[in-house]
Symmetry: C2
Subunit: 115 residues, 2 copies
């Protein structure tokens, strides 16, 4: 792999940007990471309430993607009724500074708009 990376290093850099954007893109991923960071651990239902109006389909689907990309942990308690807890993985946690950075940037833009 490193053989063809050498000549076109710029390309692989861009791919990394692209790769990362695909990982955190979509309508809900940023907000889910934000909430999970704020609460450390959230059950499915708790997260759904925080997300306000998201459908179960979208929430489940998005959580599965995040889990597959290893940005979040999913811990199932085999009880009745069931209990499932979500939390950030280390990799996911590494995105938090960036989420906060974006949040502050966004706040700044919103303030300027409302003046």
């Amino acid at each position: 792999m490193s053989s063809n990376v050498d000549k076109k290093n710029e390309e692989s850099d861009v791919c990394a940007v692209d790769f990362a954007f695909r990982r955190i893109g979509g309508k809900y991923k940023g907000r889910i990471l934000w909430h999970l960071n704020r609460h450390n651990i959230l059950r499915y239902g708790e997260l759904k309430k925080e997300m306000n109006n998201i459908t179960t389909k979208m929430l489940t689907q998005t959580l599965r993607q995040l889990e597959q990309d290893e940005l979040i942990n999913r811990k199932v308690y085999h009880q009745v009724p069931p209990k499932v807890e979500y939390s950030l993985t280390e990799i996911g946690y590494e995105l938090i500074p960036f989420v906060h950075y974006l949040e502050n940037w966004g706040k700044k833009q919103l303030e300027n708009k409302n003046q």
Copy 2:
């Protein structure tokens, strides 16, 4: 505005995250910012080459959005043939640290994958 922000501060925080994600979401925005930062100024055609396979429709459309959100400048030289230069605004430039953060994060994940 600040009156109803007090009681539900968390909500406005999330909105800022959401707001920012919409600004830099989409398939090409991150990469465009990345290239503009790298080259300072790029003409339409140069940027198109850098972007590799993007259609004129998508490139123009995305550039117009970025311009409207004041993340980039568009400078037209009324010549024949025309010449248009794109560059980052100050606001857009403020997103660069975040693009780089994501880039490094992405590189790290890609390295782990290929091992």
